[in-house]
Amino acid sequence: MLLHIGAFRLDVDSERRSPWHDLIPSTRVLCMVLMVFAIALTPNGQWKTWGLYGLGIVTLVILSQVTFSALAKRVGVEFIFIGVVLLGTLFQRSGEVVWQWGWFQVTTVGLTNLVSVALKMLLSLTMVNILILTTPIPALLHAIATLRVPPLLVAIMASMYRYIAVLADEFQSMRRAALSRNLMNSRKTQRLVIGNMVGSLFIRTYDRGERVHQAMLARGYTGLFPQAEIPKGSWRDGVAITMVAALAIAGQMFYIQGR
């Protein structure tokens, strides 16, 4: 795939050696998806289940030797942005009233909801971020291609990934140009300038797409990228997937049996 110059990287920990890094990328993606679905689909209030999953994820954090500060920073920032939405889960009418202030009341159901959703979010964010911090993006794209995501979709994602940095840069420089010409000083002109910027950048983008296409044709492109060799899994991958699946099922058992 054409993934080299100018593309950004998120994988600060991809060069380490650990049991987690020994797994092929598609196994890691599969483990992540299994875990996230198990976490997110657990009904509210199942503390034991999330306790078990939490233990599993903490083990993974230690095993994968992921840089803790980088992980905490990413999860923290993402958590804060979602936090606003979280507050909405508190407003429930049913359940015992724990605290009341005018029309605003905090009920047991509301509290259970809030803490459950927050826990689910925290666990799944941590899981996804472990994957992102330890696996290079091109490897991730290859991995999802081997997991039967349509090749055309993956190819589009790959070429998008290649150009995000380029286009973000073009937007930045256009904005800087407008700022330095004093065009951004009133709210109305600001909107006008940004609208025109978006328009003119689309024209450039479309032309760039045509140019890229010509360049690809010149290099023998026939409609899809040639697939690089798929890394073969070993017994470790089988064991890892089995363990994650067992953990996911064990967690679900807590409340299914409890009924």
């Binding site: 909405g88 979010m121 589009i156 689309f202």
Partner: protein, 246 residues
């Protein structure tokens, strides 16, 4: 160099995600039935979009959809003031629909949401289907057909038809998307309907105005400079194009 770029990208993202994030549902907010139904809808949409876009753009699909997705991603990072005192950013669904058509436009938006969910955790993995339905299916696909209907009734080739169509469609797609999102949250039992509706809808009525203004300005710019790039281009573009030497 890459470090610097990444920093600018992430700070960009962080800044832009401040408020209108409400439409990107995170993991853990939706229940199994809602997730199932939205995933089925989303997968059907993706399958048809891939087929139609491939048919329309042939082997230009990959480079063209790729750069266009990167364009939408970059455009979403820019904050602009919206009437009412706060700031918002473009979602770009209707813009993508008006420029690339409903199929390719939806495909571009789907790719943007997937990359946002996987690489930037902007929206969850399990709820990706719901996010695609709310912003891709309704925002782009619904947005396009509303735009096309208005454009048809006001004059297919006129700037007025395109402008009014895009403005109404952009505003409506954002508001309707947020209302559907509120219903999904309520059905899942996460946020009660009145709270979700009032918080989401009232906020997105404002966001939608910003969306409409930027969409119309951008389309107006393209209409004046390169009208042939508008999907089903106005007549003057076709006439000009055949005379211009390329």
């Amino acid at each position: 160099m890459t470090e610097l770029l990444l920093m600018s990208i992430s700070s960009f993202q962080a800044g832009s995600r401040m408020l209108p994030l409400a439409m990107h549902i995170p993991d853990g907010f939706l229940s199994l039935p809602v997730i199932l139904v939205t995933w089925i809808l989303a997968i059907a949409l993706i399958a048809i979009c891939l087929k139609r876009a491939q048919f329309e753009y042939q082997e230009r699909t990959v480079p063209l959809m790729g750069v266009c997705a990167a364009f939408i991603f970059a455009a979403q990072m820019i904050n602009f003031p919206i009437p009412g005192g706060t700031s918002g950013h473009l979602l770009g669904g209707t813009l993508a629909g008006a420029l690339l058509g409903p199929w390719a436009g939806s495909l571009v938006m789907v790719v943007v949401f997937m990359v946002q969910a996987f690489l930037f955790q902007d929206g969850g993995i399990t709820v990706l289907g719901a996010n695609i339905v709310n912003m891709g299916l309704i925002g782009t696909f619904g947005g396009y057909y509303l735009y096309a209907a208005i454009r048809k009734s006001l004059g297919w080739n006129s700037l007025r038809g395109i402008g009014v169509g895009a403005a109404v469609a952009a505003w409506a797609s954002v508001v309707v998307g947020s209302i559907i999102c509120a219903f999904q949250l309520a059905i899942s039992g996460t946020v009660p309907l009145p709270v979700a509706l009032s918080a989401m809808a009232s906020w997105h009525v404002l966001i939608g105005i910003g969306e409409a203004l930027i969409t119309v300005t951008a389309l107006g710019f393209i209409y004046r400079t390169r009208p042939d790039l508008i999907y089903k281009a106005p007549k003057k573009a076709i006439a000009n194009r055949s005379m211009a030497s390329r």
